[in-house]
């Protein structure tokens, strides 16, 4: 059951081979056993999950054929869910119980899925190792000394350790793809605007995008069908016709043109990751694809541009956490300014404070033009690079992350080293393009390697097809960590 696909689980539920309550309980039991060590979940609430499971069982009994009905799905703790504590990995929201559902959560609820719990994450999604969480680091199920990646590290670990059937993540600079790569699972960041951001706690609004994290491309197609769609509550949500992301899954790959950006295979990429990615490209050639050498000359600027724009937006987005209406307030303070200062100093962790300060600086009078405006200009150049590249190829491939999972604490003192972990993923967010990571092998330390697939705008169905055909031909995605 634990290794079944979502389609198989759905069929088993509808055939009454298992009830949603039984399936939910199975996962809750696994969480009770494994989570104390992995720390993939911040909040589980068996009563609420099982109540939802009972409702799902009734729906199924009444003939509900929704593909996700009764399936337990975990939510990254960045999504507000009514009645659930929603912390965003921060002390600032350690006691915040959401009075409303995020769009993504309500979409899963109406599809009949069961909310299994809220997964751990870097504080306010700021981090690449899940070590900035107020609720403690998450351990990588493949090696408990290693990080799971971040910021959706709890989700990635939960999926890899079979602590849920599938889960949600969010990706601002690589926060779905990088942990998916480091934990050996599949993750998709859709085109900006495909999934509503309503109820998803904002980090950098112009970059944030929610997406599915699962064990296969096929599962992700099913999840994206539930998540995507226009929502009038998000002004950046795109008004497009509803599409079936699974419609092209089985299409043969003959004639597929894969662009390989030379900048993604240069200095800084570890040899074992390069080797696994090369092998994956070779496999694609066998499946009928051809390879094109492309260049993304401005992508080298994506990390500095990102670390101007994302903190700028974050510094403003996080201003609402002031101790006035909800969330953490310092127990003792003098006047109003002191209340703000103490509440925010104590409520936010070091990385969040670092980014608020960077963001405040780059937006300040006298610096705005040199940093923020300049970064916006380069952002357009980066997007332009992709537009030109997609005239020569259908998808772009490369490594998701320059290395496999590093050890807990290894990059703790060096934020720039940590930021470079997202060097291949950030440009995709800056351009608003869809990006994906799927498992494509193992490195020297037997840790998973991720293959990044970047598509043109709204090409999610094609990307899922490209990933699915590979997963039909290989078995990297079904490998399971030992002891799981």
């Amino acid at each position: 059951m634990l290794n079944s696909s979502l389609l198989q689980l759905g069929a088993a539920l509808r055939a009454r081979k298992i009830s949603s309550v039984e399936l939910t309980q199975l996962y809750l039991d696994r969480i009770a056993t494994l989570n104390p060590e992995l720390n993939a979940y911040i909040t589980v609430n068996p009563d609420m999950s099982l109540a939802q499971a009972r409702t799902a069982d009734e729906r199924i009994t009444q003939g509900d054929a929704s593909p996700l009905a009764g399936i337990p799905i975990a939510q990254k703790d960045i999504f507000c869910a009514q009645g659930w504590r929603t912390t965003c990995g921060s002390r600032m929201l350690h006691n915040f119980v959401s009075p409303y559902d995020a769009h993504v959560v309500s979409q899963f609820n109406s599809a009949g899925a069961v909310n299994l719990g809220k997964t751990n994450m870097d504080e306010f999604a700021m981090g690449s190792s899940n070590e900035t969480s107020h609720f403690g680091a998450v351990k990588n199920p493949w090696n408990r000394d290693a990080v799971p990646g971040g910021s959706s590290g709890g989700t990635a670990a939960a999926v890899a350790a079979r602590l849920c059937a599938a889960a949600t993540g969010t990706d601002t600079g690589g926060s779905i793809r990088q942990p998916a790569a480091l934990c050996g699972i599949s993750g998709l960041k859709p085109t900006y605007g495909v999934v509503s951001r309503y109820g998803m706690i904002a980090f950098a609004s112009s970059l944030d995008q929610a997406g599915p994290m699962a064990r296969s491309a096929e599962d992700m197609a099913l999840l994206l069908n539930a998540m995507a769609g226009f929502d009038e509550r998000d002004s950046t949500s795109l008004q497009r016709e509803k599409e079936d992301y699974a419609r092209e899954l089985n299409k043969p790959l003959n004639g597929l043109r894969i662009g390989l950006p030379r900048e993604f295979f240069a200095t800084g990429l570890s040899a074992d990751v390069a080797q696994a990615v090369d092998a994956a490209i070779t496999e694609y050639k066998k499946l009928g694809a051809s390879v094109v050498d492309i260049s993304l000359p401005n992508s080298r600027l994506s990390v500095p541009v990102y670390y101007v724009l994302a903190p700028a937006e974050a510094s403003s987005n996080l201003s609402r956490f002031d101790g006035v209406r909800y969330g953490y307030r310092a127990p003792e303070y003098g006047d109003l300014a002191d209340m703000y200062e103490k509440s925010r100093s104590q409520g936010f962790g070091a990385e969040v404070k670092r980014r608020i300060m960077i963001g405040t600086y780059v937006l300040s009078h006298g610096y705005y033009d040199a940093y923020y405006l300049q970064a916006q200009k380069i952002r357009r150049l980066i997007a332009q690079d992709f537009t030109e590249a997609f005239q020569q190829c259908d998808v772009i491939m490369g490594p998701t992350s320059p290395t496999t999972a590093f050890n807990l604490g290894e990059k703790g003192d060096d934020p720039v080293q940590m930021y470079l972990s997202d060097i291949y993923t950030i440009a995709v967010n800056l351009a608003g393009l869809p990006g994906m990571s799927i498992p494509c092998g193992f490195g020297n330390n037997n840790m998973p390697v991720g293959l990044q697939i970047i598509g043109n705008y709204f090409d999610e169905a094609r990307m899922l097809n490209v990933a699915h055909r590979y997963q039909l031909a290989t078995d990297w995605h079904v490998r399971t960590p030992s002891g799981i």
Binding site: S316, D322, R325
Partner: protein, 482 residues
């Protein structure tokens, strides 16, 4: 050389939409605290703003009414600062790309002191959309501050003038003209007690021919009287300071109406760095020419166009036309009255500006609360026009109508106010008077025309006030001439 005062106004008008600018919560005034604040207004984690089209339409209306440029693309920006009644820690406003730019407003400055009444054009720099903040309640909670977020997210149009204003009287005239206009075009209720119309005044002084002086901004003036007092005080203070060898520091000041003084709130050094940047949650606001044309069709005839029409087509004086277009209610009442007696516009104007306004004033009523309708007034004016009643009789009818209601014809009938226009009856009265007063007749015929009034008095008395005065005059003149 004397000092010249230079003033620019920033006016915040609350737009009359039913819901807030970025959420669906109600904008109604006076509800229990925090009952009209939804998740978006409370800035809960994860919520997002969605622009209210009604607010944009009102901004377009204002732009059209002031001949302004309406930006095909404008941008919402975040103004970042911390305050407990600002839930997001930033206000969504417009910064370098506002929705309305470059317009103008013609104002009538009444005579005062040495200056005669005159017209003046004040240029409008820009008008931009933004959300209001909530309210901090300091009085009701001992040692604590209460926060009411009902007002948070209420749509505002901030209208910024060029520094074209030269004294407090002009500033008040401009503010009043703006106040009239926004109510006229229906984008703001203009209620100053409820804060729907608030002014900030930028004041500086300089010697003509030299560059403008350093300005100080007086914040949050919510009555025309305070606006006038604050500017007068501030300008006087600045001149005195400079003449005593001091300098003016750029600053924001508050007006204390009890003391009649302005006092320092913060200097330029203490001013916030608002760190404006485009709000990534909102797409740029795009306004198509078609949208502008659609809004144009909903725009009523504007005061200036009405004034011109009243003068050119109805033959009214510019002064009367100005008073009749001081408010939309007045103009509507005038036009409805005039429809009853289409040929007697001047008569309508006289009665509205005279008796009706005086009566409203006495009873402390607004035009909208007028106890008589335009139909009633028109019905009475019709009887003046056709000589059924005299002016004196009309005043009697009007008083009755005001106090008790009813239509003119019924009151005239009931009170027996119908004029005597029967030539035979009037001639008989005149003959009797001439016969009874030979001495005065001789005086009149001897060239002492003043005596004529004596005969009129007697004739009116004899007819018990019901004689048609014009006809009576004509008969008297004829018969006295011999």
């Amino acid at each position: 050389m004397t000092w010249e005062i230079v003033i620019g106004l920033e006016v915040h008008t609350q737009l009359s939409t039913h819901s807030k600018i970025f959420s669906g919560a109600s904008t109604a005034f006076g509800a229990e605290p925090n009952t009209q604040a939804c998740a978006v207004d409370l800035a809960l984690p994860g919520v997002l703003p969605v622009l209210n089209k009604g607010a944009v339409e009102r901004a377009i209306k204002f732009g059209l009414a002031t001949g302004s440029a309406i930006a095909p693309r404008s941008v919402f920006a975040r103004k970042n600062y911390f305050y407990p009644d600002l839930p997001k820690g930033y206000q969504i406003s417009q910064f370098d790309l506002p929705v309305v730019g470059n317009g103008q407003l013609t104002i009538h400055v009444p005579a005062s002191g040495k200056t005669e009444a005159h017209e003046k054009v004040v240029r409008i720099t820009r008008a931009h959309l933004e959300e209001d903040a909530g309210k901090s309640l300091h009085e009701d909670f001992h040692g604590m501050t209460g926060i009411d977020l009902n007002r948070a997210g209420t749509p505002l149009l901030e209208i910024v003038s060029e520094p074209d204003i030269r004294n407090a009287a002009e500033a008040v005239a401009y503010a009043k003209a703006l106040h009239t206009l926004v109510r006229w075009i229906g984008i703001c209720d203009g209620n100053m007690q409820e804060g729907s119309f608030r002014c900030d005044a930028n004041v500086s002084v300089h010697k003509p021919g030299t560059p403008f002086g350093t300005r100080r901004e007086i914040k949050n003036l919510n009555s025309f009287r305070f606006l006038e007092q604050a500017i007068n005080y501030e300008a006087h203070w600045q001149i005195e300071t400079l003449e005593n060898g001091g300098t003016i520091q750029q600053a924001t000041v508050l007006f204390d109406p009890d003391k009649g003084e302005t006092r320092m709130m913060r200097t330029k050094e203490e001013a916030h760095d608002y760190r404006y940047f485009p709000d990534p949650d909102l797409l740029p606001l795009e306004i198509s020419p078609q949208w502008i044309e659609e809004v144009r069709t909903t725009l009523p005839e504007l005061p200036q166009a009405k004034q011109a029409r009243y003068v050119n087509e109805l033959g009214l004086s510019a002064y009367d036309a100005g008073i009749l277009t001081a408010s939309r209610e007045m103009a509507d009442f005038f036009e409805a009255t005039q429809r009853v007696v289409p040929k007697d516009a001047k008569l309508c104007a006289n009665w509205l500006i005279g008796e009706v306004s005086a009566q409203l004033n006495r009873d402390g009523l607004e035009m909208a609360q007028c106890p008589i309708t335009a139909q009633q007034l028109g019905g009475m004016l019709k009887r003046i026009a056709d000589s059924t009643i005299s002016n004196a009789g009309a005043k009697d009818v009007f008083r009755t109508m005001w106090a008790e209601g009813g239509d003119a014809d019924a009151i005239i009938e009931a009170k027996g106010l119908k004029q005597v226009s029967d030539a035979g009856a009037l001639e008989k009265i005149v003959d009797e008077i001439i016969a009874a007063n030979p001495a005065q007749v001789a005086e009149y015929r001897g060239g002492k025309e003043k005596v004529f009034g004596f005969f009129v008095g007697l004739a009116m008395k004899a007819s018990k006030g019901k004689a048609n005065p014009a006809q009576m005059n004509e008969i008297l003149k004829r018969k006295l001439a011999g």
